[in-house]
Amino acid sequence: MILLNHSQIEALLNNMAAQLRMHLQEEQAPVYMLGIHTGGYWIAERFYERIGLKSELGGLDIHLYRDDFSRIGIRYPVHPSHLPWGIDNATIILVDDVLHTGRTIRAALNALFDYGRPARIILAILVQRHGRELPVSADIVGTDMVLPDDQHLKLYGPELLSLHQVTRSSRS
């Protein structure tokens, strides 16, 4: 079942861009944007266009840092991380499509700190839902959704984005 179509996602991104500009008003440190592969990266690509950063957009692969490797193993396809700048003392805008349990963000923070020590991390999320299992909260949120526990949010893209509600598989 489709929950958000492309134009609805675009409207949320406009609103998120306005929120981010507020966050960055007094920013002194270099600012870099990093999307979490794959859905978060698709969101970051559009978010990045709206913010107009001069630095290149980065992509973060968190599957090497997942806490469920011993249960589900390696996932395909693979999108290697690409951080074209040093993150020490920088402000990082970390972008993902959905914030649910918080485990993806935990993995992303672990991955990020293996690259260096950023001054600040701003977490931007298109959709957040209840069900947090770790103390993680987003700074910038497109929208909130309430779903039954057995339902999963999945972003389809990358050309035309759409967010769907799907029944969660046992291995996700």
Partner: protein, 327 residues
Amino acid sequence: MMPSALTSSKATPLQMGPDGRLRHLLSIEGLSRELVEQILSQAESFLTVAHQSVRKVPLLRGRTVANLFFEPSTRTRMTFELAATRLSADVLNPDMSQSATRKGEGMLDTLRNMEAMQIDLFVVRHSLSGAAHFLAQHASDHVSILNAGDGSHAHPTQALLDAFTMRKHFGSLDQLVVTIVGDILYSRVARSQIQLLRLLGVRDLRLAGPPTLMPTAIESWGCRVCGSLEEALEGAHVIMMLRLQRERICGAVLPSTKEYYRLYGLNEHKMSLAHPDAIVMHPGPINRGVEIASSVADGPHSLILPQVSNGIAIRMAVMAMVASPDA
């Protein structure tokens, strides 16, 4: 004395789990192209780990890897060890030349004892063809075996890192002209390379080397045996040099290293016959002035050192794949 099963060079579904997952890596033979592509893609991710401030990922935290090198090795052993430590595994490097095997303990007893120490993954190098295969046949369900070179049979991670190096440089392999030069007969590297390059769609695969070191009926593997190095180099995109083992230099097989270098050594003059963007590879260690001139080994076409870095990423990928649970 090794049992005759040890000499079996036939790869079986033994290396695949019941769900098609890679359980052991013993040989290129029997792997699907899809699985190989997955290993190569996975290695791309692991290559980025080398650029992190902390060159480690937590994937194999709590697992133990043992490097069982019954035959001397420096580069392969170090890159397997680095691969395991970068995956956060605990690594054991028993000195097999001083181990219980010297006191007569059989390989199976060594395996059983180390399984009792809760080792999860064994990296095995042995001078006898089929040694890794033999251990895999007898390993417990939770244990994986990686072949780091067995006799003149196979060296699958070397072939994978070579293909990975080519793919990184050229994108795809199917239009490439690839030349392998040297001792094809005894080379486990060449055997695995030929199998893998054919699997990945290389159509023009050429071999050059002394006729005494060329296997019979090798054309049936889908390669062309060239009469001279010059013929094999004509328009080649990839030149894979093999190390000449010194023990082969005895009258009947090869008259002298000087003669070998004259006929099969790669120098700048011969390089000019290859494609202008050709790359030169070598599994190491290099015999400078025997199979390759220093000016080529250290020259602009050489990818010999990137091969070493790529080897760590490939070995990380393979370790992570065999450590993945069943679907």
